[in-house]
Assembly symmetry: C2
Homo-oligomer: 462 residues x 2
């Protein structure tokens, strides 16, 4: 007889995963190598080490090691807020009157409010281990900056955050949270970098963009002694750290003998989704399961569903190495009406490859539908979700309602990446009926594609 499934599927401290899962080891076709923007040759560790910590560079370039042991110095921080609850959505199932079983992994119970802490912790840990004294980064909606501020406070190293100017004005509380943890927060573009000064000179009234903030953080890291740059999404090592989400989810589901039919996650740069699916995708690629995987992105920033598969820069300033990914072009800027995160122009090269090879489905949603799903979820499950996470909720509800039509008893798992406590202005705008849905026109997309580098690799058929 099947065990009764509790509302919260728990793992004891002994049952908690001690390894990250490197999904690249399972991929038959690996993500294309990162290219040096000058030579257009694959980057080496030496190329990357002036920018990133050594251990992170090693992880970034490691396509082969499936399980990577998590150091004790990281596990002790993980234990303070993990395992994240894996919750059986009994109330949502009842609300939808669906035969489907719905589970969600709730990453929002830590102070940063999202899954971003899972990568902030190792990135700060390795920086301290390698004798660094400062880190720089960028933040848009603010989850990543908050997470990194918590981690650098804990490991006692300095942090400068370039916060997209319009976000720092709209979200003073996010800024205050980072400052409480001792971070220096600068509105980007700023006067502290050459790239910032240049952008301000050209466009004094700009509200900034994530790509621009990345350029500033990179420049500062390069010119400051004992300082490196850290990024909260997109890169391989970030997805690796986020695999703690999938590792815990799989351990808890296995404990109760549950096999997911469908795993759903929101996707901006792809770190949460890449982490959630990692061990499950390994089984799928090996032919041991037929689990389906769905990436849900905002219709206002649709890199997987409407982007190009091309080598592109990670930043607006065009200073990073080139990553082959689904991209809207580093010059693409989503509508300012778009609330919350998921506004990055590119998508993790791992997820891009899995999508191209038919393992990962993708769809996009407009934000008023997403907020409708968020409020429906909040009222029955008692958790106020982040706008980002609500993209996954929307898709999970749609799939559960499809099960109701067909009578199928599917097991649906989705990632609840965070809470919406710092996104109340968006909820206010939704309630007031003043939320607008902007879907980029083909012309707007073409303008973005025009910023993708014209290099030989991008002229090959994909």
């Amino acid at each position: 007889m099947a065990k009764k499934i509790p509302t919260r599927l728990y793992l004891s401290e002994e049952e908690q995963p001690r390894y990250w899962y490197n999904l690249r080891a399972d991929m038959k076709a690996k993500p294309d190598p990162i290219l040096h923007p000058g030579t257009l040759k694959p980057v080496t560790a030496q190329d990357l080490e002036p920018v990133f910590c050594k251990e992170l560079v090693k992880q970034e370039l490691d396509d082969d090691t499936r399980l990577i042991e998590i150091p004790e110095g990281i596990l002790e921080f993980y234990r303070a807020y993990r395992p994240a609850p894996l919750i059986r959505a009994y109330f949502l199932e009842k609300e939808l009157d669906t035969p489907a079983e719905i589970y969600y992994k709730h990453e929002g119970t830590n102070t940063s409010g999202s899954h971003k802490l899972n990568s902030a912790v190792p990135q700060a840990f390795y920086a301290r281990e390698e004798g660094l004294e400062n880190l720089t980064t960028e933040t848009g909606a603010g989850q990543w900056g908050s997470a990194l501020a918590m981690a650098t406070a804990f490991y006692r190293i300095g942090l400068t955050v370039y916060m997209v100017k319009i976000s720092s004005e709209q979200k003073p509380y996010r800024k205050a949270l980072m400052e409480t943890y001792g971070a220096k927060v600068l509105a980007s573009p700023s006067e502290t970098t050459e790239v910032g000064k240049k952008i301000l000179a050209e466009n004094p009234g700009t509200g900034g963009s994530l790509g621009c903030a990345i350029s500033e953080a990179l420049e500062t890291a390069m010119k400051t002694p004992k300082c490196r740059y850290v990024l909260g999404s997109v890169l391989n090592h970030v997805l690796l750290h986020q695999s703690i989400i999938g590792q815990e989810t799989k351990a808890a589901l296995d404990k109760y003998g549950i096999k997911p039919d469908l795993i759903i996650g929101c996707a901006g740069g792809g770190s949460n989704l890449g982490g959630l699916i990692a061990p499950f995708m390994g089984e799928r690629i090996a032919g041991k399961s037929s689990t389906r995987f769905i990436a849900v992105e905002p219709a206002s920033c649709p890199s997987l569903t409407r982007g190009r598969y091309a080598y592109d820069f990670g930043d607006t300033g065009k200073t990073t190495p080139l990553i082959r990914m689904a991209t809207l072009g580093s010059g693409f800027i989503p509508s300012p009406n778009h609330a919350g995160g998921l506004r990055y122009h590119g998508m993790s090269s791992i997820l891009t490859r899995l999508h191209k090879d038919g393992y990962l489905e993708a769809r996009s949603e407009i934000q008023s539908d997403v907020f409708q799903a968020a409020v429906r979820f909040a009222k029955v499950e008692g958790i106020l979700p982040a706008p980002e996470s609500s993209h996954a909720i929307k898709a999970a509800i749609d799939e559960a309602l499809e099960c109701k039509r067909t009578g199928e008893k599917k097991v649906i798992v989705f990632g609840l990446t965070g809470t919406g406590y710092f996104d109340m202005t968006a909820y206010i705008s939704y309630h007031a009926g003043s939320m607008t849905d902007h879907v980029p026109t083909d012309e707007e997309l073409q303008r973005g594609f025009g910023t993708i580098p014209d290099i030989p690799q991008n002229r090959q058929p994909v």
Copy 2:
């Protein structure tokens, strides 16, 4: 050999408590009876039922039943967010370099952000069971209103919240959170009640007070069909519901063979502290333990440390029954510079009695010291605490540092009642150095005492 203590002491779904603990059953001297304000005789169930649900009235007046079974309809909601984590503060211990063991019960992982949900859930449940269609309440800092909005959304009944006007202006996000859950939020004083109109006529520019909001919520409940009033603290039945905190804490500590030497909680109306200590105090009164208990209140609203022990009204409008409690007088209004909750003029009659009889110690703290403790805690434990909870943190740190001086290896447990995500303005003011500490002068206290009713009972020596 002692078991290794994990960072988070977990209870499985089967180990979770199914009973509330009614501390009054253990008390040798019971709290004095509530009096009818007209007759000055002890109130009967019939007196209270026009205002409160029947089941809550029964619980309010029950001084004898030690364990009260929690209905399944309430347990199912509790299971969605409980057990609240009981966390060993390994990092704080290391930061303080203390031989003490520190544990805290973290009630802030639910969307309302605090322990208030523990009583909101049963109050909404009983209302629905008794066929009511609407509830009214008041909220100050907003935790209680948020919690009740979540609970009424879940049980599908209506809710009107009178929110202290100055709070509703300073905390638009709290208001938006309640509205997301479908509550109607009115700034108090409002034009919807006689008492509100009267107060506005006398003092058009007033920012309101909790006592005034209570009067408005009560009036609306009395004049609306199928509607009752609910209160989030002070009353006996609220402390009963909050005993789930203590029940879980005790079950988890017992599982690891841990005996607390000291239990610390912040105290406004007293519900969190009363709930946390309930089963432990039972053992102390029975002579089975020598655990010490400490209530920590703000120096700006010091009912236990500087108040009178007297029969007093619960509201500014002087319409409620009379409760014998530590009180500053229903006309006392704490300094507007005081951030967060813990600004009620009176203290639970249970805690007042325990204090009077020597079982409960009390101290007060100024808010700049409290925020300093909050930031220290946040940086090492990774949780941004609510200003209220930080009073307990301040006392726990002081006690742990005292252990460092004496070399004693005490076990200290404190209640972390909630998170500070909706209190960032207070953190901003603390960082900016613009936070002020107001301690009421003797003259200010005397003015408050002047509003305590002059009735025969209050002329007896205490």
